[in-house]
Symmetry: C2
Subunit: 351 residues, 2 copies
């Protein structure tokens, strides 16, 4: 790891040079750090290597800003420290959402895409309990365990690391979750805007998921599964590996059980994790809901009009004198927080 | 542990004295060994302590012999050595069946009485695979996991340690299994003939189950369950504890998972056990089916008459010219071996 210039803030010219170097076509994360070390700075490296143009980088940065995001460059003061310690740390991350989450202690929850209902319930319970204990929950926004963990941690704080560019919603099933995390959590990607999520991007994405984390919780890892590879990679990174066990009769747990045999920590409850890592010391401020916008007057009015008795959405619009679109947006937000129930006849109630 | 006289054969007078001492009302296993040590022999102890009478012991021994059994007295050459090493070794065991099984390496399989179907299938698979590898399988003849393990190991060799006297069929559900083990495996009990299986006898029985074994396999141990206690006791005895994991969502595995957290060996397949204990070196002779009577001419004829197409039992009786009782006995034996399927209309077929 290249020390010194990476750990303090960057001057604007060096920062821009790092972006150009990082977006150079043949420059991967390891080569990026080697180039910095060899040439002494990205500015010096840019004079000698084929990098992206200043205009290309400026265009991507503007597009990202228009979507409400920004770059985190390796060396920026708020680039996450655990990730910076990796020899293949992403040279640049695109970020949309609440960067404050990266100052929190982070745990990853990963697992099967074709997860069982029981597995998803376990992901939900663990994400809620660990979120309540003060951890931000990071995962890969895949279907199955990833989605269940993100969903359950939306209220307490969740980070999604994407396998494609930060604008690439994948899988389409998770479009709503993607949107909700952009608004209330944090989206991260190391790939340029517009990059499709190709197969080889998934294991590379997973090193960021574990790299951000103190530990990785694995739920339903079959033999030879991606989650199993993530767990091994996390152990190589020096992260704790926590594994939920399952019946040997269920092939979804074959990899999980072998991880425990190899020394991973059998995990049945959040306390099994807190017992190892300790309850995190979280700055009081960081525990406030991340990236939470103050509630709009419209939202407050809609919320006060709702109750446990189902109410027609049309009636809400009429009573609150707010546009139908604004009502729909507030209802979606409540639904994602698990506070709203929908009923037949386009009626809703608070839970 | 009292050494010397216990490890070689006993002279008949000392052996009879040990039986009288063992059956003395207030003399438990620990006091038995202390008395031997203090007085130097059971003969000397009998002169000073309140023991059972010679006639009482003779009566019990005759009754046991009439049922085809005999006593194993601590100190007898064929008293199982791993059990003799315990400070609370049973001073005497009643035994009915194939004593040769005690010369084999032994593994215990124990678990929930209210076991799940999946748990019973796991017990079945492990018992078969470990039996095939050369282990005799010992358990407690309870319903659930115990019964499944015994049943699956009937063909390769199984030992049942009973919580009451050796004549006490308990639970009644397992009467057929009790009978089959008497005929083809080995029944053991430390309690006198006729003793009912009272509550406090169960944990005492369990120390014999684990004491006979190199290791104990635990399937579906709930929190605060008897199986959990057996596992802890086995660890105290220096036995390996192998535990099948399960979902944290299933309370039947709460104790199991906590055992693994405390250092027990996560076990998904027989190979996980063989990898620790090694494949046992079994005398060729001992691997022959224990206590298996050569097949009677009647049985051979019935077997050759049966096939995969269901046949009426009446027709079997007629064709084979054998009594209905003899046919029923052969069919039961085949059924216990898992080779016979019963169909409606009192018809049977081979599997």
């Amino acid at each position: 790891m290249f020390d010194g210039p990476l750990t303090c803030g960057l001057d604007p010219a060096e920062r821009r040079a790092r972006l150009r170097l990082a977006r150079g076509r043949r420059i991967g994360p390891v080569l990026f750090q080697e180039a910095l070390q060899h040439f002494g700075s990205a500015r010096a490296a840019c004079a000698r290597l084929a990098t992206a143009s200043d205009a290309e980088v400026a265009r991507e940065e503007e597009g990202l800003a228009a979507a409400g995001g920004r770059f985190l460059v390796l060396g920026d003061a708020d680039y996450p420290a655990p990730l910076a310690a990796l020899r293949d740390a992403p040279p640049v991350l695109s970020a949309i959402g609440g960067l404050g989450l990266l100052a929190r202690p982070i745990l990853a929850i990963v697992g099967a895409r074709n997860a069982s209902a029981a597995g998803c319930r376990l992901a939900d319970t663990l994400a809620r309990d660990l979120g309540q204990a003060g951890f931000a929950i990071v995962s890969g926004l895949a279907r199955g365990i990833d989605a269940a963990a993100h969903q359950a941690a939306l209220a307490s704080g969740t980070v999604a690391v994407m396998a494609g560019g930060i604008d690439q919603v994948y899988p389409p099933l998770n479009a709503g979750l993607h949107q909700a995390i952009a608004e209330r959590g944090l989206l991260l990607s190391e790939l340029p805007w517009g990059s499709p999520p190709v197969a080889r991007a998934f294991p590379r994405r997973n090193r960021i998921v574990s790299g951000l984390s103190m530990g990785v919780v694995v739920i339903e890892a079959a033999a030879r599964s991606g989650s199993l590879i993530t767990a091994h990679r996390a152990a190589e990174q020096g992260r704790e590996v926590f594994v939920v066990p399952g019946s040997p009769a269920d092939p979804r747990y074959a990899g999980s059980n072998s991880l425990i045999q190899d020394g991973a920590i059998l995990t049945a409850h959040a306390n099994d994790i807190l017992g190892v890592l300790g309850k995190p010391r979280v700055p009081r401020q960081a525990l406030e809901k991340p990236n939470k916008k103050p509630m709009s007057p419209d939202a407050e009015q809609i919320l006060s009009t709702l109750g446990s008795v189902p109410t027609a959405v049309d009636e809400l619009v009429r009573r609150c004198q707010v546009s139908a679109a604004a009502v729909a947006e507030v209802l979606l937000a409540l639904e994602l927080e698990g506070r709203l129930e929908r009923h037949r006849g386009n009626r809703v109630s608070l839970i």
